[in-house]
Amino acid sequence: MFKSIAASVLLGLCLSAHGQTSDDPWADMDDWEAQETSPFSWAGFTELALGRRLKSDDVIGQNTTLQDARLQLQGDYVLSSSKLSFRGDLYYDGVKESLESQIREWYWQGNLGFLGAAGSHFDIKAGQQVLTWGTGDYLFLNDLFPKDYQSFFAGRDDDYLKAPSLSVKLSGYFEFANFDVVITPEFEPDNSINGEYFSYFSPMTGTLIADEFSVLDSNIPADPEYAIRIYGTLAGTELALYGYKGHTKLPEAADALGNPRYSDLTVTGFSAVRAMGSGIGKLEYAFYDGDDTTGADPFVPNDQSRFLVGYEQELISNLTGSVQWYTEFNHDYEALIANSLWPQYEDEERRHVVTTELRYLALQQTLTLQLFNFYSPTDNDGYLRLRGTYSPTDRWQISAGVNGFYGDETYTFYSQFKDGSNLHLAFRYFFEE
């Protein structure tokens, strides 16, 4: 029922969308002045998205990987030197067969200048918001803000890779450096692969499973998360230091009964970005300091060092290429293997991932083609993302893509999702005041 309503709403919007035609090409400028006087503005879109598995998954038994009928609305109310912002989604998820909603943004953002001259150095953004920092493309080292891998793997728009959190961000700006402090009072984990859309490897059974697990309330941390970034530019290089105190964003640890839980985690790191040759070079490091200092506790992840270097440049007009080399070093590896319940399934001591990306803009930038490949030489597996987006008008956009997982073993990171490889298609219709 809901699906047919959504479809007819979508159709109606499309039919009413025919533009006004006029002999005077400058006539389209006429409605401009009226819009600018209002402090309130809004926009939104409706979208239908479908995804199918490329081959069947015996564990899940459902070939649909994406079936969304979505409405997103956003609005801003601009005050004298601050603004209120809202962005919310209402969608029917045909895979889960349920009506879902998500408030992605609902915050106040402004300057503290009203507190006096010192206040003008500070901005605050408080409320439901999406947060991102760090230098990696689709790889995150010092960015511990929540992510939604289920959406990413299913082929939803890139926007949905980042999940919102209810946080307060205080930013300070000074001559030598700037800083951000983010406090998230209630722990916000990643939306990981949990058997709803995709099956995953269970070391306990040694096979792929699709048990829809959830973490017990008693295993969800009650304390806040803290994140800090101090950054500035020195001789043309953008430098940043990062810190995080909270918990693993995936339920990688287990309690005494074997139930998944989020263990304590502190992350410290740095990054540097600068122009190099005719492109951009970047480097980032993060140290993941967990609860298991000796590596001997099989129920808690070991400490880890993460390192990334990358380079991006325009290869020819409208075609940009980039490469990243990313590595995870598992500390106390001997102790990890000696104490592991399933040493045969553990990561290598050093897990490497190489990514390559090509991005091409064509047809006066109305067509965007993207190829992004993750390849791990140590796991001998990978993940290929292909996506094309075509939008010849302001009103609609059509996109299609492939998420292809490959690899030798069933237990390595990308390879476990092989049965989740999918093809997806979406039509989005935009509207605004």
């Binding site: 533009g19 090409p25 400058w26 389209d28 400028m29 401009w32 002045e33 600018e36 503005s41 926009a43 879109f45 956003q74 801003d76 601009v78 004298s80 030197s81 601050s82 603004k83 992605r104 953002q109 402004g110 300057n111 901005d123 953004k125 918001q129 999406v130 947060l131 991102t132 920092w133 890139d158 926007d159 980042k162 930013s171 700006y173 700037n178 950054y231 953008e238 970005v273 122009a275 005719s278 492109g279 951009i280 970047k282 991006e312 440049q313 325009e314 020819i316 007009s317 409208n318 940009t320 006066q364 930038q365 109305t366 939008s391 010849p392 008008t393 302001d394 956009q397 935009f430 605004e432």
Partner: protein, 266 residues
């Protein structure tokens, strides 16, 4: 040859002489610097609302609406620029930051802010003669092509305009063989630029459609660029221009990408 035609030849010759005398009097280098300053460096800083209507060869329309903030590091030199998009819906709140370097050997620094991801992305330097946000304007038409990249000669002049021919010093870096720029004698603004291929085909035109004096500065309020091959064109209109606002350097930083300075955007 009758006496009449002799006179007219003489007259023509004299006219030619006087024209070339005037030509010798004109310092082309000074003229293009004055023109560059008038077109891209009015005041010490400025703001403007802008709307573009993009019409492709098949008549399909797109719109882009944005606010530009600009600050000059020095006249005819480096510049800082912020572009805040408000329309259409899919680019709403996207922000583009540029640090333009007048030295042609140093690439401009560019950043993009994507609001839905809260992502600040450093963008690698690209071909400046590719579309600016899907329009027929090139990135370089908006930020200004450094006059040091071309060799200028005075081609002709009318009562109101100087017509200069510009040839690229590095022909491999651009798609044109040369362009003719018509500069208004009074306000020094380039009012028409026609781009040509080697065979003399005029394939692209940029024009100032209307000009107004704002706070003492002659300012282009409407401009148009036409792709003469496809028939596609882009119209751009500027409104609510202000100069010499005293914009702080801090406005042109990552701060404004993530927290738009709303007092300058209204």
């Amino acid at each position: 040859m009758g006496i009449k035609s002799f006179y007219s030849v003489m007259l023509g010759f004299c006219a030619f002489l006087s024209a070339s005398t005037v030509a010798q009097d004109i310092d082309v280098d000074a003229l293009i610097l004055a023109s560059e300053k008038a077109a891209y460096y009015a005041g010490d800083d400025g703001r403007s609302n802008a709307r573009m209507i993009i019409v492709d060869g098949q008549g399909r329309k797109q719109m882009r609406q944005f606010t530009i903030l600009r600050k000059d590091v020095e006249d005819n030199g480096d510049q800082k620029m912020m572009v805040f998009f408000s329309r259409p819906a899919d680019v709403r709140d996207t922000v583009f930051r540029v640090e333009k370097h007048a030295d042609v050997n140093i690439d401009d620094d560019r950043w993009l802010y994507l609001p839905a991801l809260d992502l600040v992305k450093r963008i690698s330097a690209g071909d400046k003669r590719t579309s600016f946000v899907g329009s027929h304007f090139f990135y370089e038409d908006v930020s200004g092509r450094a006059v040091s990249e071309d060799r200028f000669t005075l081609e002709n002049q009318t009562d109101t305009r100087f017509i200069l021919k510009a040839e690229p010093k590095d022909p491999d870096s651009v798609e044109f063989a040369y362009y003719l720029v018509e500069i208004d004698k009074q306000n020094k603004l380039p009012v028409v630029i026609n781009f040509f291929k080697q065979d003399g085909t005029n394939y692209r035109r940029v024009e100032a459609v209307s000009v107004a004096t704002i706070e003492g500065y002659p300012t282009v309020t409407r401009s148009k660029v036409t792709d003469l091959n496809s028939g596609g064109y882009t119209l751009m209109e500027f409104r609510n221009m202000d100069y010499n606002l005293g914009l702080d350097d801090g406005v042109f930083s990552e701060r404004s990408l993530r927290t738009p300075p709303v007092q300058w955007l209204k």
